[in-house]
Symmetry: C2
Subunit: 355 residues, 2 copies
């Protein structure tokens, strides 16, 4: 068991994780690996090439990640009084992570990100491979094609894993996936238009973080235990802590260190992401827009001007308010005190993480 | 009913389609449209932007297509003696078409195809839109991002539709999807490497056409009727007719008219697709390879040299042999004579179509 523990990613092994959740998370890790190994074995005989998209998913799973969505799904299930041995619980949590692998791989293509979790992204790795072999066609197109297909495969695999869960969860699962994709599209569109639209920026944060990352995984876990009555409390918790999560993400991208986050910082600026942070700052100081859209300005210049607006300090205060509201919703939810403490600790971890 | 009939795409309304299949195909069309309309309605209130990925799917569905996979699924079901009113039959056929919409949208990105079914592809349409609005970032990247997300949404929607089918079909459905994606990857890899490897080219044709387009849709339909015993006959039929389908595709791309096919011809040459046709031709005449990989040669030059090799005539003969083998397998299958005739007529349509 001790060697298995080392497979748990750092973020998920924080001291606040309840032993019951931790045990299930270990089983989720093993399920992800056994699933991918079985798929790999079933394709390896066809041709050496056939396993390339599967290996791309394994690389992603092995490279770490915080496993926030599986953790919240399992926590939602246990907090709702669910049986840890109920069929499909481990698979549902694994399905959430596999779906997230799809989202990350496709996201990295859309953002043209060269790195994720300290290693080259799928499209980058395969573009480099294509170039080094002097293959036919455009290297960028080849790398992106591999990433599109690997992401598609992760999406299909997430369905196969979720099929083990009882039909009662299908409503939550359907909403979760389409909201993720529509939310991603809105994010891409807002970045392209780059107009200051705080309502739109907030909706995107709500969809991508509040709902996709927190509320719906918690509710999926609760619905595995037949406890859809927890939806209102989990929704308030998810929407507040999700916004805090997103604001922390914006701050980490703007002011964090690449060595901590495992990916380049300042990407939101160079890619014109209309983040909550930037939306606020632009409303405060209209020079910010010019610094981002006009060529010739460095990330450091943008950073200095953002600090001058005072917005980062306001954002920290807003994060504190959001954490308070989320924790209040949980403190009043009909769940055992131990799970209230757990969710309170998680809220603080998510809102004050440095990675 | 008469106006509904006009919604059926031309390819699927050929005189060989059995009235029972045709009725079900009409219901599949209506299900696709009602599903997309309900999804659109559920998102329209959020923001005008939110429906963009859904509209991309509707455009694709409305633009036609041969509906070969739904048709074969329904034919497989009816030939197996299945009840046309059995739950999930219409949804399963609709799910196959929705999955195909995902495959086409992502394929068009990977192939950089500007047109499909006579209209701009999803990525092309949105690249043009981005450019015309002078939005932030790269127009190519924006268009491709919309297409990646629209394809992901189609994949999710195909799952939602298939969820209405009985659990007995899940094995066929799982294999169908992962084989499609692995097959696509092998196709992309073979095009990049561009080495003459007839074994690899045949496997790709088997996966993409024989299995994905014919055998597995037929088997999915049969398994909806609990008739997995038809697997061997449907496999032989699918593999032979699928190879004939792919060879016809290669011939249409090489020698067809853009006005018939609704997409530019000669794409396999410019994109270095290692098709069965090219594989055969290169084994016969090694100048062909140079004509394709070295710059400065026109599609017409490649065409002339292909004709000189005599390969197109051999391919026509091979198609005839394949059709004969496929029809023999069906003539011996334990199904009613009316469905043997139907599948024989379909084989000829698929192998000798001009679009």
């Amino acid at each position: 068991m001790s060697t298995e523990m080392t497979t748990l990613p750092r973020g998920a092994s924080g001291s606040f994780v309840h032993p019951a959740t931790r045990d299930l998370l270990e089983r989720v890790e093993r399920r992800l690996r056994s699933f991918l190994k079985a798929e790999r074995d079933s394709w390896a005989h066809v041709d050496g090439r056939a396993v390339v998209p599967i290996d791309a998913l394994s690389d992603m799973v092995e490279s770490g990640g915080k496993r926030i969505r599986p953790m919240l799904c399992l926590t939602g299930h246990l907090a709702a009084g669910g049986d840890p041995e109920a069929p499909g619980v481990v698979e549902a949590a694994a399905a959430l992570e596999m779906l997230h692998v799809c989202a990350l791989i496709h996201d990295d293509v859309m953002d043209a990100s060269p790195q994720r979790r300290g290693i080259p992204t799928v499209h980058e790795k395969h573009s480099i491979h294509h170039r080094s072999r002097a293959w036919q066609g455009e290297s960028r197109r080849f790398g992106e094609s591999v990433a599109i297909l690997a992401g598609d495969l992760a999406l299909v695999y997430s369905e196969q894993l979720m099929a083990a869960a009882p039909p009662a969860v299908i409503g939550v699962w359907n909403t979760l996936r389409s909201e993720l994709i529509v939310g991603q599209y809105m994010d891409v569109a807002a970045a392209a238009e780059f107009s200051v639209n705080p309502q739109l920026s907030r909706w995107i944060a709500l969809a991508k973080s509040g709902h996709y990352t927190i509320y719906r995984p918690l509710l999926l876990g609760a619905s595995l235990a037949g406890r859809n009555d927890l939806a209102p409390a989990f929704q308030e918790y998810g929407e507040t802590i999700g916004e805090a999560f997103q604001l922390r993400d914006d701050l980490l991208d703007a002011f964090g260190k690449s060595a901590d986050t495992g990916k380049p910082t300042g990407l939101d600026f160079t890619q014109h992401k209309m983040t909550l942070l930037l939306g606020w700052a632009m409303q405060r100081d209209d020079r910010i827009r010019g610094l981002i859209t006009e060529p010739g300005h460095t990330t450091d210049e943008v950073r200095r001007h953002l600090l001058d607006t005072g917005v980062p300090g306001d954002v920290e205060q807003h994060i504190a308010d959001l954490v308070e509201r989320g924790c209040k919703a949980i403190s009043e939810a009909p769940i055992d005190a131990v799970w209230r403490d757990e969710l309170t600790a998680m809220a603080k971890y998510v809102a004050y993480r440095n990675t």
